[in-house]
């Protein structure tokens, strides 16, 4: 069964004519015929979770908007897809932008808001173009505007282009960015539902989350919830990359076992090599070893084994991938993307990168594995936003689960087993950053 991906591959699926022939906007009338609160309750019952990564129940987030506030309300749609390994939202924006707009309309009705912003990462030229032209088409057809599809309900949608900052995928950094500032996350509370964009009540939801809303209305909450696992309703898009035969995006039920996704849907490990490790939910999630991959891919099951479903960006490592080198790639990323606001994250990410760098360069010292874990533990929980945790969790899990490999590098430099694998550019100075002593 497919829901949000069912139109992918159809010719001109991004145009209004084709989308409408496939049912786009057919659920708007049904939603507007019901009270906003009724729709919120329906979405709560559907167990639709926030699919950007945090997994917060979507309907409950909507229900937190303060009642009776005189301020305008906003819906901000997070299309700043940047979590390494995550490639899903772009498929919806490119192939089915009208489904997204329909989800936005229904959501705006449910939360009684008349203005939505879609924040799309700056590199996404085609998704931006597709979403903008879909909005223009919808306006021309009276689907958006002063009277949404003839109903007494006004809605305007604006596309806002990001400019290259991973941190802006964090909801409060995204709001700062939308307000024309640096993407510096805000301390919560107040949560965006109370004080969001322009200090007005704001709901921030991911592209994929909102694209499932029309199906909740169409199928009913119970039928949607039944598609997934307990407390994790419906389907979701799993991005699979790394050393698999068929990398791509697979829309499958919540709770599909990770093993099934890797070996059945993604065709198994490239070259039929052995599996070494899997990142289950984007680069920030703690890594899993081959004996852990029978886990059902839903938010609660992954939390139970100490990892997270996150954005469901599955990255597969085969036996030839060097774990310390992979961790260097990720630590370099987090050090680059730390916004610099909180000291533990700004300094900690830089130090973790430097230490892993020196281990890879053959200059590691005996205490370095412990140093990495200690620094990571000093970041977790001590920063305004989750980027610090996101940088620290992989470090702790890689070093803990593959300690022997780190020790081997520290003792002897690049091990023979890693020589077949691609090597990271050690010793290469990155532009604009302090040189690393290697």
């Amino acid at each position: 069964m497919k829901l949000v991906t069912r139109n992918i591959g159809k010719e001109n699926s991004h145009t209004l004519a084709v989308a409408q022939a496939d049912g786009a906007y057919s659920r708007v009338a049904a939603a507007i015929a019901r009270t906003p609160d009724d729709i919120v309750q329906e979405v709560i019952k559907s167990n639709l979770r926030g699919l950007g990564g945090a997994g917060f129940p979507a309907g409950r987030k909507w229900s937190f908007l303060p009642k009776g506030s005189p301020k305008p309300r906003y819906l901000v749609v997070n299309g700043d897809e940047g979590e390494p390994g995550t490639v899903k939202d772009k498929y919806i924006m490119i192939h089915d932008p009208h489904l997204l707009i329909e989800g936005i309309i229904i959501t705006c009705w449910a939360i009684q808001c008349h203005k939505a912003f879609i924040y799309i990462r700056g590199e996404y030229d085609l998704p931006i173009q597709r979403v903008e032209s879909a909005i223009a088409e919808a306006k021309g057809a009276g689907i958006l505007g002063e009277r949404v599809m003839g109903h007494d309900f006004a809605l305007d949608i604006v596309v806002h282009r990001g400019a290259g900052a991973y941190i802006c995928g964090e909801e409060t950094a995204l709001l700062e960015s939308l307000e024309g500032k640096r993407g510096w996350p805000r301390l919560k509370p107040p949560f965006p539902a109370v004080e969001g964009y322009q200090r007005c009540p704001t709901v921030v939801n991911n592209i994929e989350t909102l694209s499932y809303v029309p199906f909740v209305i169409e199928m009913g909450a119970q039928a949607f919830a039944d598609l997934g696992s307990e407390r994790n309703g419906g389907l979701r898009m799993y991005s699979v990359s790394g050393r698999v035969k068929k990398p791509g995006v697979y829309e499958l039920p919540m709770g599909t076992p990770l093993r099934q996704i890797i070996y059945e849907h993604a065709g198994g490990i490239a070259g039929d090599r052995k599996l070494k490790a899997v990142i289950p939910g984007g680069s920030s999630s703690p890594i899993l070893t081959p004996d852990e991959i029978d886990v059902p891919m839903d938010f609660d099951s992954l939390a139970k084994i100490g990892s997270m479903l996150g954005s469901a960006g599955i990255i597969v490592f085969d036996e030839t991938v060097s774990i310390p080198e992979a961790l260097l790639v990720l630590s370099r990323f987090y050090a680059h993307e730390s916004c610099g606001q909180c000291t533990p994250c700004r300094e900690g990410t830089a130090w973790m990168e430097k230490i892993i760098h020196r281990i890879i360069a053959g200059d590691g010292s005996a205490g370095d594995a412990d140093n990495l874990v200690r620094i990571a533990r000093n970041i977790i929980g001590n920063t305004i936003c989750p980027l610090g945790d996101a940088a620290a969790m992989p470090v702790i899990s890689y070093v803990t689960k593959f300690r022997g490999e780190f020790e081997e590098w520290i003792k002897r430099g690049r091990p023979i087993s890693a020589r077949e694998a691609p090597i990271t550019h050690i010793g290469e100075k990155m532009p604009g950053r302090s040189a690393v002593a290697v």
Binding site: P84, V158, R161, F333
Partner: protein
């Protein structure tokens, strides 16, 4: 002496002469303002327009952006230097962003970057002498399913090989 980029990425290059918004851009800015409840929120779109008009964001461009947005210059400078996609100096006619993150790294992106450097004779952060290409190493482009991947001008190219890189270079005039 290092052949690596000699200029930190936040250092800006000035435009040779004074810059001002053309009339068409002014009209476009007025349209942008209608989309937001305040002018400040229009900062990123106005800076994107500036990149289109002037090629990069120099101190002079920051000044005319601050002027039209009615914001202090330091706030504009803070924004410009925070976001990596706002160029602070002239780029090549074709700007190549090659991904270095996890999926692309596993798919041999480091070797392809070496190939680019050899073919173009430049390092990341530099522009070819003829002004045709500039090269940049970037973090995840969200094209992991087609790794290794790059973004050139306004499009993505994935499943890169040396042959494909040759083709990309020869087709970009």
């Amino acid at each position: 002496m290092s052949t690596e980029m000699s200029m930190p990425e936040f250092e800006q290059v000035e435009h040779p002469g004074p810059v001002s918004w053309p009339e068409t851009a002014r009209r476009e800015i007025d349209v942008i303002f209608t989309r937001y409840p305040d002018k400040k929120s229009a900062t990123l779109p106005v800076l994107w327009l500036a990149v289109k008009e002037f090629g990069w964001i120099s101190p002079q461009v920051e000044a005319i952006a601050a002027d039209v947005l009615e914001r202090p210059l330091n706030e504009i400078h803070a924004v410009v230097t925070f976001y990596t996609m706002f160029p602070k100096r002239p780029l090549g006619r074709h700007h190549i962003q090659i991904c270095r993150n996890i999926a692309c790294w596993m798919a041999n992106a480091p070797e392809l970057l070496e190939y680019f450097k050899a073919r173009l004779g430049i390092h990341p952060g530099e522009v070819t002498a003829d002004g045709r290409f500039s090269l940049e190493e970037v973090e995840c482009l969200a094209y992991c399913e087609c790794a290794p991947a790059l973004r050139i001008d306004n499009r993505y190219e994935g499943n890169l090989t040396r042959e494909k890189i040759d083709q990309i270079i020869s087709e970009a005039l």
